[in-house]
Symmetry: C2
Subunit: 228 residues, 2 copies
Amino acid sequence: MPLPSSTVENYLKTIYKAQAAQRDHGRLVPMGHLAQALNVVPGTATTMVKALAESGLVHYEPYAGVRLTPAGEKLAALVLRRHRLIELFLVKVLGMSWAEVHDEAERLEHAASDKLIDRIDNMLGRPATDPHGDPIPDSSGSMVVRDYQTLLTCPLGTPVVLTRVTDQDAAFLRFLEGNSLKPGQKLRIEARDDAADQVVVRGKRDAKITIGMRAAAKLQVAPAEPEG
Amino acid sequence: MPLPSSTVENYLKTIYKAQAAQRDHGRLVPMGHLAQALNVVPGTATTMVKALAESGLVHYEPYAGVRLTPAGEKLAALVLRRHRLIELFLVKVLGMSWAEVHDEAERLEHAASDKLIDRIDNMLGRPATDPHGDPIPDSSGSMVVRDYQTLLTCPLGTPVVLTRVTDQDAAFLRFLEGNSLKPGQKLRIEARDDAADQVVVRGKRDAKITIGMRAAAKLQVAPAEPEG
DNA sequence: GCCCGGGTTTTGAGTGGTCAAAAAACAAAG
DNA sequence: CTTTGTTTTTTGACCACTCAAAACCCGGGC
Ligand SMILES: [Mn+2]
Ligand SMILES: [Mn+2]
Ligand SMILES: [Mn+2]
Ligand SMILES: [Mn+2]
């Protein structure tokens, strides 16, 4: 059992995230989705997945799709852990923008040793989430998955706090940053208009921000704690 | 011109270091040395070097050896820059031991972007040398190479300062650390005995340290500045 | 000049990862 | 059912990198 190549790690991570994205826990991830997410041609994904199945990391059902085995799931979670701790480290310690850390972490996640990752984890105070609000698995590979509302589904008027952004696109993140829409920010939904494809929110210093519904769906929120 | 793979980067870096190690600037590095340093079989090195020559990174002379072209030299220097800045960063910012940072940097050097490296360089105050005293090339790929004496060649009795350690072996580095033999340390050679394979030095708090001559040759020193 | 030995190159093969294009399977609709 | 369109798999090929082993070159020694 040689250490998994970065290709293998990327496949596992992608399956993991696809699995998490579909509500139904035990469903199979279709080959097409996997290929597209990994930017390879479908035949490549098929070949690779068969190899992963051979080494016991995934369960593969021809013409149906793929799902991680417990072994694969643990490995994937550890890659995700490395990725997210590195992102947070780059932001907190090196002062990089949350818009650019994703690409950097995409490569570093395969090169950083567990020893280094633990050191980073420690220095950051064992954080629970990364700069985008994504949960960070612990060193055993388990993590707390909370089920948030989005700016599309949460109640109007009541104060909420932005907890997670589910899109790593740099331009999108820069836009959000420019409007102070980062995790931790308190918000209140003013209005939603399906026909106009608009969601209007009040943010920092009561500034009014209008975004489209596809963007709104990428912003997850929790009920704001009534504090001090 | 796709970015060089980490394999290519390792070949270039190894040729660079071999070239630097032989006094004669323009001599060719023999294939055997290269293969051994890279832990590959000689035939592999030959094949690879021919490919490097094809892309203009090295000059290759069959049965004679290989030398970097200006393009190859610049690329190699930048890999070295990444490696050494990462090492220093791991020691200074993350508190890792100078004995373990080499292996970590060996992988990270291929994954870190120039943007990240510049940030690290900045945070460290544009340092001139890494934790082992190796010079750090600037972002254009040039660096100051100074010619030091070693504990084997320097004059007896006169105070010197340890400037560089030319062996990355973790056990050796731990031994040195245990005896406070790190760059910056002031020393004075007490005695040298060829027959007994011994070099005796006075170090921190006048502690007496005796090391073998092969080890002594790996410790480079400069005349100590007489400072207040 | 010839041979010998150490270093070097060639050859043939294998692994991991990928694509293009043809073939096969499936789902959905008539 | 049968047809149609989409998804998936198969096939054949290729590239980067590697090794084992055979063939080769070349600088001494005789
Ligand atoms: Mn990755
Ligand atoms: Mn993230
Ligand atoms: Mn390396
Ligand atoms: Mn070093």
